[in-house]
Symmetry: C2
Subunit: 156 residues, 2 copies
C-alpha cells in the first residue's frame, strides 16, 4: 500500500512503502503528521538523559542531516529554527535514529553551553509527578537554573 | 491567559494557567493536542535508553497515574491500551516527568519481558540514519529480535 504524506509534496524524502518496508527496510521514509511535522526526542550524548522533545518539518530534517546541527520547527513561532541561534546553546547531533514505524526520531546530541531548556535548565524535564494519587502536585527535580534566560535571550 | 484544552472537557486535570504557572508552577496542567493526545517519551529505567514514543489521552494518563502501569492511546487502533496486555511486556512506571510547557511526558519504566517494540526488539529505535549526505540508507543498530512477535501476539 502506498501512502502519500506531506513529505511527498515538500521534500526529497522517500514515499512511504509497505509496513514491512517501513519497519524492516533500509529506506528512510519519515512520516510527517497532518501539520507536516515529526516528533523528535533529544537526549544528551554524555548523560543519556532526555533534554527536550521538539518537532521538525521536512526542511529542518534536511538541514539537520546535511549539517549535523539540530534544526527544528517551532510550532508556537511557526518558523524554522536552528537550536542555539538565539541562545548560543546549539546541539551537535552525534546520532540520529528512527523508530519502527518511522514517525519519531531520536537525536543523541552534544549540548553546547550549560543547558537545553529556554527556562534556564539543563533539561526541559525538570519536574516529576508523583504516582498513585490523583491531583498531586509536581515536584522539582532540577530547580536551579544553569543559566539566566533573561541574559541569554535579551543580549541577542 | 486562560487556555481551554481538550482536557477540560474530558477529565479532571487542571486548566492551563499563565506561561509562568505552566513553566514554574507545581500544578500539573498537561496540554493535550487537537486530537486530545500528549506525547510520551519512554526510557528504560535500567539502561536509560529510549524504548519508544507513544501517546496518551486523558484517560490513559489518569490510569497510568493511578496504577503505575503504562497505559497509552493507540492512534492506529484508536483505542486505550495497557502496554503489555497482548504481549505480556508491561511497563511499570518508575518516574513520570513533564516538560517545561507541559505538552510532553517522560516515563522511566521497568520494562517487563525482553522488549518494548512490537517488531520483537528491545527498543523501537533500532535503526540509525548516517549524517552528512542526503539519501543515505538506514543502518541497523539492533537487528536481532529479542522475541518472536508472531508467537507473542498470536498466542493471545
Amino acid at each position: 500500500m502506498l501512502e502519500l504524506s506531506v513529505s511527498d509534496q515538500t521534500n526529497a524524502f522517500a514515499s512511504r512503502g509497505s509496513t514491512g518496508e517501513v519497519e524492516e527496510g533500509l529506506a528512510f521514509q519519515p512520516k510527517f503528521d497532518a501539520d507536516g511535522l515529526i516528533t523528535c526526542v533529544v537526549t544528551d550524548a554524555k548523560s543519556g538523559e532526555p533534554l527536550m522533545v521538539a518537532h521538525m518539518d521536512a526542511e529542518a530534517l534536511r538541514k539537520t542531516i546535511e549539517s549535523g546541527d539540530a534544526w527544528y520547527f517551532s510550532r508556537s513561532r511557526k518558523q524554522l529554527w536552528r537550536k542555539g541561534e538565539s541562545s548560543g546553546h546549539a546541539q551537535r547531533v552525534v546520532e540520529l535514529r528512527v523508530d519502527c514505524d518511522q514517525d519519531a526520531l531520536w537525536l543523541k546530541v552534544q549540548q553546547q553551553g550549560p543547558g537545553a531548556c529556554h527556562t534556564g535548565r539543563r533539561s526541559c524535564f525538570y519536574r516529576a509527578l508523583p504516582l498513585g494519587k490523583a491531583g498531586a502536585a509536581l515536584e522539582f527535580r532540577e530547580e536551579e537554573r544553569v543559566f539566566d534566560p533573561g541574559k541569554v535571550y535579551d543580549d541577542k
